[in-house]
Symmetry: C2
Subunit: 333 residues, 2 copies
């Protein structure tokens, strides 16, 4: 059995790909624009072309037994039983498209598909935050990853596998409801009060802007349009209003950690995405708020709340990792 996997991270704008070994190391990588407006078949061809390039770059050839399998992390809602993408808002015309089958044909490799946020979570579990600084015989399980960006993405690994749920919709933590009443902000998903309206990078920026508009004194006033980064920068510099707003965001994330702890009892919660770059200042506050508010039945210190480690590689490592995991179970398509 060859020990190399092709990992593909499909986004609405770019495709990233890489060859990854069975220890989660990236041997080659590449990227290409996503020809989304040209439709499903064009995107599949672009993926296959890029896959061939990164294979060659690693000294391997597709479909000649030197690569065990391919994994594709894709946006959208997935039918895991049929390897199909049911819909993907950023990919026009993707309605129940047989992505796994098509890529398997084009690549000449067994191919599994996975939701992009789930794949990234598996990457961190397998080769990132979950692996820690060295070889880890027993990675933290369950593990939850939250990606704080435009929205809040989520992925869960339990029992060494990605949790799909009953309808392929597990780990949609961005749509946990924090404020269920009529005062909860309306979300595009149809709910009110979703987490991502309060604790994504976009939400942090909005909360900063609203705070400036109250007229209270703040150094944030110097920013034309404060970003999440501005908010955390000014908070770290000691601006009282910025600290207050940033602490509010951290409290909401800590509350989310408590929710996840009561349901899943994870060993590790990983935060990724631009906002996680706020670093120790943010993590210290999330951890403190978690410890102050979680129960005293068991130690609050057993749950690790940590930053992601794989950065932009999480998608390709995770997609390759999912292919590796499925092949380990002997159930490759």
């Amino acid at each position: 059995m060859p020990k190399h996997y092709l990992g593909i991270d499909l986004g609405g704008t770019n495709i990233k790909a890489g060859i990854v070994d069975d220890a989660g190391r990236v041997l080659s990588r590449g990227s290409a624009p996503t020809p989304g407006k040209d439709g499903f078949e064009a995107v599949c061809s672009a993926i296959a072309r890029l896959g061939g390039e990164v294979a060659q770059r690693a000294g391997l050839t597709l479909g000649h037994g030197s690569i065990a399998a391919a994994g594709v992390g894709t946006p959208g809602l997935i039918d895991f039983d049929h390897g199909a993408v049911l819909n993907a808002p950023n990919l026009p015309g993707w309605t129940d498209v047989p992505l796994a089958k098509r890529m398997s044909d084009l690549l000449g490799l067994p191919t599994v598909i996975e939701n992009d946020a789930n794949a990234a979570a598996f990457g961190e579990y397998w080769a990132g935050a979950g692996r820690g600084d060295g070889h880890n015989a027993s990675p933290p399980d369950p593990l939850v990853m939250l990606t704080l960006g435009t929205g809040v993405g989520g992925g869960i690994v339990i029992g060494g596998r990605v949790l799909h749920g009953g309808f392929g919709l597990a780990a949609e933590v961005g749509h946990l409801i924090l404020h269920p009443g009529n005062d909860g902000l309306p979300c595009g998903c149809g709910q009110r009060g979703c987490l991502e309206l309060y604790a994504s990078a976009n939400a942090a920026a909005r909360r900063a802007k609203e705070a400036v508009q109250t007229g209270r004194p703040t150094s944030l006033r110097s920013c034309t349009e404060p970003t999440a980064k501005d908010l955390f920068d000014h908070a770290q510099a000691g601006d009282v209003l910025a600290v207050e707003v940033a602490q509010g965001v951290c409290n909401d994330l800590a509350w989310t950690c408590i929710t996840l702890a009561r349901v899943l009892d994870p060993k590790m919660i990983v935060f990724a995405g631009g906002m996680a770059l706020a670093g120790d200042w943010m993590f210290d506050r999330i951890r403190r708020s978690f410890r102050e508010r979680t129960w005293r039945i068991a130690s609050a210190d057993t749950l690790a709340i940590v930053p992601a480690r794989l950065g932009n590689d999480a998608g390709i490592i995770g997609a390759a990792g999912v292919a590796w995991e499925v092949s380990q179970r002997g159930v490759l398509p």
Copy 2:
């Protein structure tokens, strides 16, 4: 391999036991008082005695190859790696006691232990609400069960197995935080605003009492101390205040269903316990509140929100079921 399992449901007051076949049918049952104050060894002996009785009643003998394994559902915090109960508030002196090993010696059977709420959830998955009206080749997975009693107990089945979590503390849904602020009621667990302070049977009774104390007109005034049953009875009879309070409880349970749906994406949520006897009136309102508030990305009708079916047998069937499940995986101790 014999097809019979001994299921034991250990409570602070009573021990229940039964012989259960590999389809989840109870062949014999019995119960005995829990000699809790006499300590761990006395309780183990009482369990073994009762186990012998129910075996005999089913025409079987312990330790002679006619019973495959025993499962014990126990209150308290469990160390699953060592089959030990770390502590159990209602069982004096139970501090890190080797329950699985001791029962295995006394019964002459491989013995697994499980948290009582988890065992009951597995019972409903295997042979109760999850089985439905007939033979079910593919039970609803994930399944979550909430038991609405003095508190709110919880159990989760994923991938055909009970979810333990990283530290044996998964599915503590009674301690999901509904109200994280300082206005959240203080809970014995150290948190504020826990679900069980708003939506257990005890909480429903308290909410009814508080509503009566506002002085608003209500038929509940005729009850000296309204119970959860009184609340739902008066609501069904049309009392405006009772409807309002009962609806509030149902809304909190629906919110909890949304939380569980976003994290786990279960196919079924089962409500058990005294309050679930409020029946269709309560279930209709929980389902409606869920549908009104959950996202529109996927159909709200895919998640079944249903009453438990096994009643008092859930504990013994579930404990036997866990033993069956572990033996199916070939990892009996």
